[in-house]
Amino acid sequence: MPAVMDDRIVILGAGQAGARLAEALRDGGHTGPVTLVGAEAHPPYERPQLSKEMLLDPGASLTPIKPVAGWGMAGIRLLTGMAATGVDAASRSVTLADGQVLRWDRLVFATGTRPRRLPLLEAGPVPVLYLRTVEDALDLRRRLRPGLRLAVLGGGVIGLEVAAAAMKQGCSVDLVEAAPRLLSRAVPPLVAGRLSARHALAGVGLHVGRQAVGMADGGVILDDGRVLPADLVLIGIGVEPCIDLALPLGIADADGIRVDAQGRTAQPGIFAIGDVASQWSRWHGRWSRVETWANAQNQALATAASLLGRDQPHADAPWFWSDQYDLTLQACGDATTGEMVVRGDPQGAFATIHLVDGHINGATSINAPGDMAALRRLVTARAAIAADQLADPGFHLRRAVAALPKS
């Protein structure tokens, strides 16, 4: 398919997804021009460390996805610090902030998300930070000092990882979560309880079922009227998709840009990947953005295949990991519904497996990476395995994967 291989491809967004896609196009033999346009000042870099090592180690530096020279060597035109300002589908062009116009045969949105903000709190006397970019991480690291009183708003992955890092830096930390428990959209109560206990043991003050409603002098006002003393506030209450340029094209709504398993949007020639893309989840039975590192990587690879004229639909179950203190949490599929099976010791290393109509529809693990390596595949396949077998530590998950029918 020479016409396809010669196409001009423009990728908007130079995060994990955009960068991996550009790389995969070249690896897959694409010969036409590939342009990667990123608004951030840096070449593409890894984000997972921003809420982990980057907050702890003063020597930690940015981990590039590829050595800077590698982009040029691969024949990928990388534009950093460059925002796109407009997309025209009729003339197949993108306008950039400096006025230059890029023509494309195929366009890929990898524009990602931005943190949801709480402007009401930003106006108060206590500094408020968000965490998305390396600048955000370095700013936070500079401020995390022994004795600092940090209020973290949001008990999701970002909030919990920041809380753990701040405790290690000698700060005193309060964490506020509006839902009745931590990570309520991602893990079952058993796992949330284990994480809560670990944070409490470290000394984090947990305030679940509470919201911040304002800022007082020297602290955050909660909805029960209490004031949490704080010198710094970190807000991690979720993200919103960057869809400004996609909205006028009729391919996006407030939930993101809807795509099929090949990354195609409703507009011919326009694709979307990574955090901004809304995908149908067989595990959740709904459309949703999958804001994970693994999705950014693997959906990009599937979409690259699609751009190269190959059919390799993105079929992996959503999966993420989080490192907090001495715990590594992993979750896959939908681990909040169905019948829960516990495998292992809930006080030690264990996994939870969630069955819907007898099929494995989700799983989590705490410090049980070996089980999760197999469970990720069993969730993706929605394998039917009996609950008592799954609960039996002698039952070999790896062999159960090997026994799956080949797709």
Binding site: T63, I65, A294, Q297, W321, P369, A373, A374, A402
Partner: protein, 108 residues
């Protein structure tokens, strides 16, 4: 000068069928893989974040770290995907009288 050979036992070859892998608690710890009847050994620790590759996922000649999905080639030790950037070492494996031996002195 190559280091002198330093052989450690990796247990019986019969109990490591094709597609399976096993950790050997040597110093350094290594993992032995059976890919279609051929045996390979690498460092057990992922070069990215100290997870045991023996708990990982072997597919063909690729081992995937169970923590963060970094992938390595078990024949060459090459880091194939992020987040790993640093290759792992490989070690020769030989089978004598049905027993696996890894030569820790001959890292490549």
């Amino acid at each position: 000068m190559a280091e002198p050979s330093r052989l450690v036992s990796g247990g019986s070859a019969d109990t490591l069928p094709p597609g399976e892998l096993r950790r050997v608690c040597s110093e350094p710890p290594v993992t032995i893989y059976n890919v279609d009847g051929a045996f390979y050994a690498t460092d057990d620790w992922c070069s990215h974040d100290k997870a045991s590759l023996a708990e990982g996922w072997l597919e063909g000649h690729t081992i995937e770290c169970p923590w963060h999905m970094a992938k390595f080639c078990v024949r060459t030790g090459k880091a194939l995907t992020a987040p790993a950037r640093v290759d792992i070492r490989t070690f020769p494996v030989r089978v004598e009288n049905g027993e696996l031996f890894v030569d820790l002195g001959a890292a490549a």
